[in-house]
Symmetry: C2
Subunit: 558 residues, 2 copies
């Protein structure tokens, strides 16, 4: 309903929420906070927020005056986590241009496609990543400038068609002030592509508003809750959903940053924790698993680090307990590129009745904050209750959640029906349950769930149950077509060497009290020598489904 003609007008100032505000505020008010970047040498690089902020201003001047960057131009980064990358995070959006973080783990072909799709005019690259960039450059049609920062052989760039600049030379003599444009808070600030497993990569365009609100959320006491007394070890890459929003959030409130640059191996991570004494860290579980091995082999004083935010995928309970014993409290968070990414944080509620219940809450993906509305959609499109039992696809809505994908500079945004609901919610592709008090537990990916007679069966639950059998080395479960039920599970099992287990005994094992409901037990079974895997080591269920469809699997029906 539109407001009445005699509506009461708010008398509040209309001030936009912008990255510029974060830059100006952090530089001035938190000028003494530090960004420490690991160098692999005796001393790390130390830079105050005052210095980094001023260098960001110089960078904005250089980009505009020397490189001709205008508002809305895309400026890409191919960089590790370091102070210069933070400077780009602040400078590029503040001048009205769009920061495009490139994922250096992507195959060359995808990187080329993404740079081209975004029409990046500039790439800022770390010297150590020149070997990755140089072979791509001849194929990058829109890139006019390459700016190189940090150590690394420049020779591979010789003769490339783009103009090559040295970051430090470029910003050296530039003014320390910039007449920042007054930007609409809904303007584009940053661009990040998801490395989707199917189809072309999809770009998410964060706005100034979404980054500002997300930064506030990260800083709320119930989220990461950091202050200027904290130092955050930002292991999660800046090319991966803006390092979970930490660079902007920490610059907003003066939280010190400890940046590992390219030193992401367990030994240097352990060393930087011991020497620089961060209080907080953010990383995916695999990095943390490696760190645990290192700390077990060579114990170090890591007592400063009391809070570890883990996301990306679930942290195995045993890993969480191992870190608890080291005094590092792991806190799950869930999110994705499309959610900026903070979607949930797993802080147990005050009323958790003891260590076991606390731990159970910590194993969930976490609780939704006020800024993230959530709902579950069942197999038939129906809304499911928050009862901790009904599993459905998670859909979310909020001011830092994507409602579309970027479709190139001259095209309308994309809103594929499998990713966005008609009323504009993001379909996350994750399947799970929500407890009455708003804690999310994910059980499967929507594309892997088995839709059987209007109910959903979690492939992950079946796999975990199977893999707890002493004779099973690996097990993958996929949906296969079924005349009566629509879909039914196919169990694909790799037996341990010398095992003589048969399908009946495995099925009986699954049927044991409390493991798997009877109607979910697979009828179709097959033995394979290895489960096919994707390039990042996940089960490649597409391949299994294709082999089944082609009749290439030797399937037994029970």
């Amino acid at each position: 309903m539109p407001p009445r003609e005699d509506a009461v007008l708010s008398t509040m100032q209309d001030v936009p929420l912008t990255v510029t505000r974060i830059l100006v505020h952090g530089t001035r008010v938190h000028g003494r906070s530090q960004i420490t970047t690991w160098t692999g040498e005796a001393e790390p690089q130390r830079r105050s927020f005052a210095e980094a902020g001023t260098r960001a201003v110089r960078l904005a001047n250089a980009l505009r005056d020397d490189l001709g960057v205008r508002e809305d131009d895309r400026v890409a980064t191919l960089m590790w986590n370091n102070a210069e990358h933070v400077e780009a995070y602040l400078a590029v959006p503040s001048m009205g241009a769009v920061l495009h973080t490139l994922n250096l783990r992507l195959p060359a072909e995808q990187l080329t496609w993404i740079v081209d799709h975004a029409a990046d005019r500039v790439i800022i690259v770390n010297g150590s990543l020149i070997p990755l960039l140089a072979p791509l450059l001849p194929h990058l049609r829109t890139v006019e400038h390459v700016v190189v920062s940090g150590p690394g052989d420049r020779a591979p760039l010789d003769g490339c068609s783009a103009r090559v600049h040295e970051y430090e030379e470029l910003i050296a003599d530039k003014p320390a002030t910039y007449d920042w444009p007054e930007l609409d808070e809904r303007r584009a600030a940053a661009l990040c592509y998801t490395s989707g497993t199917t189809g072309d990569p999809k770009g998410v365009v964060y706005s100034h508003r979404s980054i500002y609100l997300h930064s506030m959320q990260v800083n709320m006491a119930q989220s990461m809750g950091l202050t200027d007394r904290d130092t955050s070890l930002v292991v999660v890459p800046q090319f991966h959903v803006n390092a979970w929003g930490l660079p902007h959030a920490t610059f907003m409130t003066g939280v010190n940053m400890l940046m590992p640059d390219r030193f992401l191996q367990p030994a240097p991570l352990a060393e930087m924790i011991e020497r620089e004494r961060p209080t907080h860290a953010a990383a995916v579980p695999t990095i943390w698993q490696g760190l645990l091995g290192e700390l077990t082999a060579r114990p170090r004083d890591v007592s400063s680090l009391t809070q570890v935010t883990i996301g990306g995928s679930a942290c195995p309970p045993a890993l969480m307990q191992a870190f608890d014993r080291l005094g590092m409290r792991v806190c799950h968070a869930w999110g994705m590129t499309e959610t900026s990414p903070l979607g949930t944080v797993a802080r147990p509620p005050a009323y958790a009745s003891g260590p076991d219940e606390e731990f159970a809450y910590r194993l969930t993906q976490g609780r939704f904050p006020a800024g993230v509305e959530a709902r579950l959609t069942g197999p038939g499109g129906e809304r499911l209750p928050w009862d901790g039992e009904s599993a459905g696809e998670l859909e979310v809505r909020g001011p830092w959640i994507a409602g579309a994908y970027y479709n190139g500079p001259d095209a309308e945004p994309l809103r594929p029906a499998d990713k966005f609901s008609e009323d504009g919610w993001l379909k996350t592709g994750d399947v799970g349950t929500i407890s009455p008090d708003g804690f999310l537990t994910l059980t499967d990916r929507a594309k892997d769930v088995i839709k059987s007679g209007g109910e959903w069966i979690s492939s992950v639950d079946l796999e975990n149950a199977l893999m707890s059998h002493p004779d099973v080395a690996e097990a993958a479960v996929v949906a296969v077509p079924d005349d009566k039920w629509g879909e039914r599970p196919l169990a694909t099992v790799v037996l341990k060497e010398g095992s003589t287990a048969d399908f009946e005994s495995l099925r009986a094992f699954l049927a044991e009290e409390g493991k798997i409901a009877k109607w979910q037990l697979p009828e179709r079974w097959t033995i394979v020598t290895a489960v096919p895997k994707t390039s990042v080591g996940k089960f490649d269920k597409k391949v299994l489904r294709r082999r089944y469809a082609a009749g290439e699997l030797d399937v037994t029906s029970l």
Copy 2:
């Protein structure tokens, strides 16, 4: 600059920041958090967020269906801090109407003027405040409905022209759902008048956006930083700048509320702290001074209460130290009705070098958060540096800061030039300094500062220095016209009984090393038997200036 035609569009969802979102989220996700209201009886009233939120929905239904409240209508409250008042805080803005909190400390004439100016259609009143409301009702031309909540004799309302309803009866059978309107976040949500010392009261209209952002700010770790493990004792009245934003902020994140209702005397406050064990409290210094006396006379276990936010006026250092000794850490905050109110919070920075420097930081008004831009304007309108020494009038800008005053339902907002700069900043009327790291120290009110030859002299500094003289009982310093300097200070002194101090010796005392700069020393002196005071006990400098102008004071020139 408008965006280019080929501007990159953000792909974020456009989701408004509304009080509705706070209501729905808190009710559902933090349903087990509690609002505890003191009753003066054996047991307080305990209500979960789930109950309070559901009752708020019922209230919205009742207001619309039984009382005919439409969007933009003003619904006033004349209430203490209690669960029902929180319900009104949530229900009224969510339905698109405007919550108008009435200050029950105002003189009857001002209250009448304010209700009339706001054109309130409904007043929700606590039974205990009926004796205050009933005599006004015949004069309130716009009020059609009075809703009474809680104990108190209803008889004085008999025969009044407004329809009288019982809160509990009104909401009893109403639906627990409401089809909330999708409100623009810039729509009016709440209205609060400042009890300005000069002229008519001025109304500030908070928007949904400003309340939502302010709630996030309150919840940030560097502000109050509360979580669902905390209980906040909300002593600051809900009729006073939305109780510093606490009801909305706590409902957003599940922080428990402890509400004192009308029991604001030191003894019941001490009792509720001992029995209900809040972790946080928010109050003005005078309340806390009284509590200290009570705890000294009758010690109690107040160990739960570790954080006390004090605002409204500066906390005397001795009071701060006394609370430190009790384990309650006082944290200064500065704000005003026009700033929602959170403007600064005095958390000492991590680099404060020891207890003395920490304490010095804590005595300032505090540090600006990213959402509050600040600047100092000198006597000639020039911008002053943040050097901790240059004193100027504080001007602020931000999304939860007023840019105008309400001017009644059918009129354009007011933007008086003495309150708002041409570029839209709020002139706070406070004079002070800002340190290079963004800490504000207030030294005077702009209207009391002495503008002498293009420089400012703080009346408060002179008064404090004078009152530290052993013979001085009270001292007030006001500006008087001066041909050469524009203005000069007039020192008005009340001597202690039997004192023989003369003006020369007082002047020499002020001139002692480090007290007052020589050029600031008053030439004009007068003895009075008492400094005139306002109704709230502050020095009434208007009266002094008038008496001086009328030649009623016996002034000596040195």
